[in-house]
Every structure is written in C-alpha cells, then in structure tokens.
C-alpha cells in the first residue's frame, strides 16, 4: 500500500495541533479542584480536549489511506514542539536527559519508518 502525501500532511498538522492541545490540557489540569465547577468552568481543559478532538479527526482522515507504520512516526513532530512549548509556557528546563530521551525516541521512529518501506 502506498501512503499519499495528503495523508502525511493531515497527520503532520494533526500532531502539531495535538502538541498545542497538550499545553492547554496541562494548564487546565492545574486548575482542577475538588469541586464540579472547577471541571465545568475550566475553559483551558475544554479547549485542550477540543484541540485534541480536532487533531484526532485529522488523524482518522490521514490514517484512512496509507500505511500505519509510515504515518504514526509523523506524530514525532509533536514531541519536538512539546519540548519548546514546555519551556516557553511552563518554564520546564530542557535538560540533557530530556534531549537524549527524545533523541532516542525520534531515532527509533525514523527506524520504524525506514522499516516500513
């Protein structure tokens, strides 16, 4: 089975949007208290979930044509973005351990992609 470019674009855009969704999920998560209102009035959490849903729809459309093992690796774009978002929005340090860990993961994803041709 061949993987069309349109599927790749959908999955790439989906992964970028997904990483932004994760930022809102985390900022929303920190506002949760033991009260129903903190869940219902939590617009950051709601926005995070909404962005996640949009990215999932893009994934479904993207993955409906093409090879699973080619398309999933393209989500790796989201991991690189997440390192940057975490630094910018949550002041999380970009440590050597994180770079090694994410580097190994990206290398693994590339190998999975190569193995799928």
């Amino acid at each position: 089975m061949k993987t069309p470019v349109s599927s790749m674009v959908l999955v790439l855009v989906g992964s970028l949007i997904g990483s932004i969704g994760a930022v809102y999920l985390k900022s929303g998560a920190h506002e949760l208290r033991r009260h129903w209102a903190s869940l219902l009035l939590n617009w950051r959490l709601a926005l995070g979930i909404a962005i996640y849903l949009v990215s999932s729809v893009l994934f479904v459309k993207g993955m409906s044509r093409g090879e699973l093992s080619v398309l999933f690796p393209m989500v790796s774009l989201g991991y690189i973005c997440t390192l940057a978002w975490s630094r910018i929005f949550f002041n999380e340090a970009i440590t050597r351990v994180k770079l090694y860990g994410v580097g190994l993961i990206l290398a693994g994803i590339v190998f999975l992609g190569l193995g799928s041709r």
């Binding site: 699973l68 093992s69 975490s86 994410v102 993961i105 590339v110 992609g113 190569l114």
Partner: protein, 137 residues
C-alpha cells in the same frame, strides 16, 4: 500567550512524579488498543468526507470504542499532567508506537524486519531515559 502558563510554582513530589510517569506508560497500552480500533474502523471511511467521518465516529462501533478509550486515556493523562512535566510525559506516549507496530504486524499483516526491531529498541531506550531521568530527582 504567556497568560496560559500557571502562576503557581510547582514543587515536584518525587513519588507523585514517578506515579505520573508510570500512569502515562500504562496509558500507552490504551492508546495502542484505541488506535487499533480506530484503524480498523477508519478502513471503512477511506473515501468519506469530513462530515461523514464525524458521523462515522458515532456509528461505526470500532471507531466509537476507539474514541471512548481515548477518552479514558485523556482523563488519566490529565491527572498525570498535574504532577509531572509535560516535556517528560508527552514524549512517553511514543511507547504506543511499539505496541502499534507489533499490532500492525500481528493484525494488519505488515512485515516485521530488523529496522523495525531497532526502532522499537530505540524507543524503549528513550522512554527508559526519560522515565528514570525525569522521575527520580
């Protein structure tokens, strides 16, 4: 844009950080099962438009079950995000590729080869580095 960062300083509790990491690692199994279900449902949608895709999420059982599992995953993930760093927890989800690749070989008859095995090993290594390095401090 900086207004979405939380003003409070998060003092990391090592036990809770470890628990958050283990939760997300466990969650990757849910993601893999969800993605298997979504992939098998998505095959029925290969020529559908965006609206038909949205309707399909509710009418095609494997798609619906896959998204329901994603819902469970999201609840657990949000809980974990309260106690861990996003830059550690988000990349851990890549462990789901390992399960997805194994599922693709077993269920969708894609081939297994040395490159994929190296890829799986590297991802497990990366998750281990993030998990140990990010949880212990």
């Amino acid at each position: 844009m900086s207004s979405i960062s939380t003003p409070e300083v998060h003092v990391a509790d090592p036990a809770k950080r470890r628990q958050a990491i283990l939760t997300v690692i466990g969650c990757t199994l849910l993601v893999a099962i969800a993605q298997y279900l979504i992939k098998s449902g998505a095959n029925q949608l290969s020529h559908a438009g965006l609206v038909a895709t949205l309707i399909g999420i509710f009418t095609i059982l494997p798609l619906f079950a896959g998204y329901a599992l994603y819902g469970v995953f999201t609840v657990l993930f949000v809980g974990a995000l309260r106690h861990g760093e996003l830059s550690i927890l988000y990349p851990l989800i890549s462990l789901s590729y390992v399960w997805v690749t194994i599922t693709a070989v077993l269920a969708f008859h894609e081939s297994m080869n040395p490159l994929k095995i190296v890829g799986i090993a590297l991802i497990i290594g990366g998750v281990a580095v993030l998990g140990y390095g990010g949880g212990g401090k």
